[in-house]
């Protein structure tokens, strides 16, 4: 017998009698209030920043104020951002993204309870982009702030992605004597614009 069959046979022989799967319904109840406030408070608490704006023009002017956009490489798949960014990348060579300073990506939705945003492969241009960029901007529609992770997976449903990630705040570590340092290996900062 090869290892596969051996392991499967041992599992079958040793697993206990079937027990039922629990329902998750109760976790959906009573979670719906003040979602934007909650999301903002949580994400601020873990080193991110939330900015509520009326439209994408406001985002562009805010970014112009804060970055020397003409001196850095800015990547975004969004048509509305092409004035300050481009979507010109080569997926066969993700290493070439190493000099990206700013990535501006849409996110499908945000989660109020933990400050996370969900992005799957269909909108992030390249899997490594949200990690390799020095700074990350995510743009989420205000109506897509969901209460909890249960709502999040309900929304994801049976979506067939190759890759997807929840991103909650900038990359960080506290491995050196538990001192929190932002900017471990991924993005050094994360701003989320709620439009």
């Amino acid at each position: 017998m090869n290892s596969r069959d051996q392991i499967l046979a041992a599992v079958k022989a040793n697993q206990p009698e079937l027990t039922p799967l629990p329902q998750l319904d109760s976790f959906f109840k009573g979670q719906e209030t003040a979602l934007i406030e909650k999301f903002t408070q949580v994400l601020n608490g873990i080193g991110g920043k939330v900015i509520v704006v009326a439209n994408t023009n406001e985002i562009i002017s805010l970014l112009k104020e804060n970055y020397s956009l003409d001196q850095i490489r800015v990547i975004s798949p969004l048509a509305s951002m092409q004035e300050i960014a481009n979507n010109n990348i080569d997926n066969h060579n993700p290493h070439a993204l190493e000099n990206v300073e700013l990535a501006i990506l849409p996110a499908h939705f945000a989660v109020a309870e933990n400050g996370a945003c969900w992005l799957d492969e269909s909108i992030l241009l390249d899997r490594v982009l949200p990690f390799i960029t020095q700074h990350l901007i995510l743009i989420v529609n205000k109506v897509n702030v969901l209460p909890t992770m249960h709502h999040a997976y309900e929304k994801i449903g049976n979506e067939q992605y190759g890759y997807g990630a929840f991103i909650a705040g900038p990359s960080k570590t506290a491995d050196i004597e538990q001192s929190l340092v932002l900017g471990a290996h991924g993005a050094r900062s994360l701003w989320v614009f709620l439009v």
Binding site: P16, L18, D126, Y163, S171
Partner: protein, 459 residues
Amino acid sequence: MKTLDHAERADIFNEDEKRVDWHDETLWWIRQKRDKSAHQIPEWEDLRETASAIKSNTLSNLHDYLLEFEKNALQNGVIIHWAADAKEHNEIVYRLLKEKGIDKMVKSKSMLTEECHLNEYLEHQGIEVIDSDLGERIVQLAKEPPSHIVLPCIHKKKEEIGELFHEHLGTPKGNADPQLLTEAARVHLRDTFLTRKAALTGVNFAVAETGEIVICTNEGNADMGAHLADIHIACMGIEKIIPKREHLSVFLRLLARSATGQPITTYSSHFAKPRDGKELHIILVDNGRTRQLGREEFRNSLKCIRCGACMNTCPVYRRSGGHSYHNAIAGPIGAILAPNLDMKQYADLPFASTLCGSCSNVCPVKIDIHDQLYKWRQVLVKEGYTTTAKQVAMKTMATTLSSPALYKLAGKAARTTLKYAPFMVNNKFNAWYLQRDMPKVPQSSFGEWYKINRKKNEQ
């Protein structure tokens, strides 16, 4: 050469009292962050109950879930491997690298590869492995194993890290600023990520329904490695399976809050398919897990999601340090898992506990950790590991800590008392131990053994 047991190693750790205090306080602080975070979720106890029930169902139907996972992952274009033990796991990794002519690999956190001693094995074959989690890189440079499953270098002072980085990464001598040291590691490891063709990662959850794996990090190192490499090898124990994607909601709500008090890790990455033109391999490892599944009293230990909460809260772990457990996984859960791998070598570990139950109280998947430790003691005695067990039992804190009141007290005062208690063999008639252990043990051999040793202990 005799390997040192837990009590002897704990004695060494306790030579530096200030460091022990600091270690103790740091971990307790993390435990408090966990409490604060948990208390913000009114349905916390329901979540724990649900997580435990999902894991029970998983273990009771693991055979079919493994097949379902395999089928879906294969459909996603993932290559699946099965390894019966550590040796086979290591050989698979090596073969994959060799086939591609790769001799340098970047690795993110994987306790399974620690359990399998993959790094040593690969280095022996001439493969260079660089750990990319900052804490793991630090212990790797120090040529030490991680001392905690979530916080690998929790035992190290920043000055020691500054010294290591000065030597290996050329940071200024005498500089121990965490910001500067982290930046130095970022630059050094960025270069590693960009130049490695193979990346190995662990797996937090594997979903049977979709064939996807989920990897949680704060640093982003798993993603940086995996997305830039030609070949991504993900290693997982077979117990990492969960039935459905929607169950991730329960586990991701619990994991980081239990571990560090964060609401979620910065990155929770779902890998379903390899990148275009690249390879994703998943190695499913047994290494004693099917045996543990068959041990009725201990199978619940397979529910563990490796959050580390049981370590942070454990009075013995906090005051003896992770290395004293001489096993890849330290602390209360390590002490249950290790004897399954080798009863003789790890006979001392189930005795490295006060059975205070704090671990079981914080465990997000409600493993009856302290009960299992107690049950292991009985098994070890019954199976004839009494000589080992007898020697160590009289030295460990379990027997020298005589007062249950110590565990009821909270805060600084109690911990100051604890500091001295474990290593002073001055307990008289040990009513607590008797009460907790004796009536439940039917074997007369154990009773006699206890009586003899108790006398010795009183001398």
